[in-house]
Symmetry: C2
Subunit: 325 residues, 2 copies
């Protein structure tokens, strides 16, 4: 532990109480001036630490920043998120996670960032998020799986995100096939799964989640205001990103384990309940092709099964879906 | 062009003829001693250049080494192999190609090596090859494709390798599902495709080919002698690796283009002719599962379609196949 971490640990053990500068200096083996410098460094990270003459220092609050120590504190997962890398700024959390996975990072290792310079969604589309207000997290999974079945993991992750929003803040979250989570028809989260594989077997999958937490309507790009939302916008107040992230990790772990142990059936059953499109007429645009039909089912490889107006069934493996009529 | 390359180009333009040291020195703008040093450097690379007093230097032969300039000379592809990286030694040509592809290398770019420290086949099995005698090549492809269909590219590549061996050296090469090419029932080449993808769309695929060219029976590991072979072993003499590689690149390009333009049907039709297992009884081991049946078909995702003894049809997507009885 660094001196900063030691100091924080000492203060945290006596919540609401002052610890004298002399005691801290002795326990850290440094001067009182150095103690003061460490307190200042922690304050710069966003920690709220009160100082009072003759009494010492008192821990008041943690920053709502995605620092590994903060995330781990209170994290109730068995394995997901135990290995963590957090960046103030990076090109893309998925890129970092893919690189770490290739180097052998364990299943469940996660990468967080306050800001992505080149965040992306499906098909290399941009994913925009102002710094420090939302969740940008990528998690490494190592399922022994044929590459064609990775869409099942995207569905499981979408279910997990929707469950987090429902459990923690009672939001009426739905899943928009294949990889978006919406509240009131507006997108609140997106999922981007990327994989490294042999032709017949996955090496690893990185699941990136972009979840709008505290971004305000003013901060959203104008052209996105009609179609995007956030927890803050829906609830009318900011919430703890750390609480959301910890719950998200717990739900991701739960649905991943459920999928691996019991197969796709339970995931698909919950997806059916949370889907915004099952049983509705939709249009799916895939490249230059456009298909319109009734959503009849979700296939085992994550494809949407449409009943066309003329009667026959058509599978659509990929594309952009809109509910019509 | 470096001085080495310039010197080589001048000598090559006058095959069988001597070029004087004075002329070479003048055209390169260097001393005659420097010309001599360049000739020595080229000889160290394996070029055969004769020197004769008062006459000068004469080009005799190129090394059978996978130098990019040598490969490109006489390469008749439209695009495959035009961008080339060659290594004397590397961990794995697939790893280098995957890294180059992630950095934006063009379709058809290829990585060659004389020796792989950590060569691998499917399921992270070792791929062993003594230095400097065989072909170790990895090619970058960028098909717009669902990840489930990458096995089609493995099949197309296997067809290409078999065609190369048939066209160039009249060998009776067959394909052993999914990714081996055999002569007389012995393995002569293996293919390892690795991909980077989103859940619904491939970013890039690297197709690695390990092809035994001039490895001798003595050089083969003892436990492999009954099951592996090489061009040299089959033909009774060494052959030019460069000729084989150039033809392989041509066949790979041909079958890749055919697949992209006309779909899987023509690839599958040729596979059916070259398959060592179609219509035969096989056993496929996938993890702990063992399936025995008659090979009835190849599915569109590269899976083997077996007719079980009891009558029903079963698809096997992955595994190790042996022809039985």
């Amino acid at each position: 532990m660094s001196h900063d971490e030691q100091l924080l640990a000492i203060l945290r053990k006596r919540p609401g109480h002052y610890v004298s500068g002399a005691e801290l200096a002795e326990r850290l083996g440094v001067s009182r001036t150095t103690v003061w410098n460490h307190v200042e460094a922690l304050r710069a990270e966003g920690y709220v630490i009160e100082a009072a003459t003759h009494r010492g220092y008192r821990f008041v609050a943690s920053p709502d920043r995605m620092l590994p120590d903060e995330v781990r504190r209170g994290l109730r997962t068995a394995w997901l998120g135990h290995t963590l890398w957090a960046y103030r700024e990076t090109d893309s959390t998925n890129d970092i996670a893919l690189a770490r996975a290739a180097e052998g990072a364990p299943e469940g290792a996660a990468v967080l960032a306050e800001l992505q310079r080149r965040g992306r969604g499906r098909f290399h589309r941009k994913w925009l998020s102002p710094p420090g207000v939302n969740i940008l997290a990528s998690v490494i999974f190592r399922p022994q799986l044929h590459p064609s079945l990775v869409s099942q993991l995207v569905i499981a992750a979408a279910v997990a995100v929707a469950e987090t929003l429902r459990a923690l803040h009672d939001l009426d979250a739905h899943i928009k096939w294949p990889n978006d989570v919406c509240v009131g028809g507006k997108k609140i989260a997106g999922i981007l799964a990327e994989l490294s594989a042999e032709a017949e077997q996955v090496n690893h999958v990185v699941v990136g989640v972009g979840l709008n937490v505290n971004v305000t309507a003013d901060q959203l790009q104008k052209d996105l205001r009609a179609t995007a939302t956030s927890l803050c916008i829906e609830l009318g107040h900011a919430v703890s990103r750390l609480d959301v992230l910890r719950r998200l990790f717990l739900d991701l772990e739960h649905w991943y384990e459920r999928w691996r142990r019991h197969g796709f059936a339970p995931v698909k059953a919950r997806w059916a309940e949370l889907s915004s499109s099952l049983g509705r007429r939709v249009e799916v645009v895939s490249g230059k092709a456009k298909t319109t039909g009734l959503v009849a089912d979700l296939d085992d490889d994550g494809a949407l099964v449409l009943r066309l107006d003329a009667g026959p069934i058509k599978r659509v493996a990929s594309g952009d879906m809109t509910v019509v009529g």
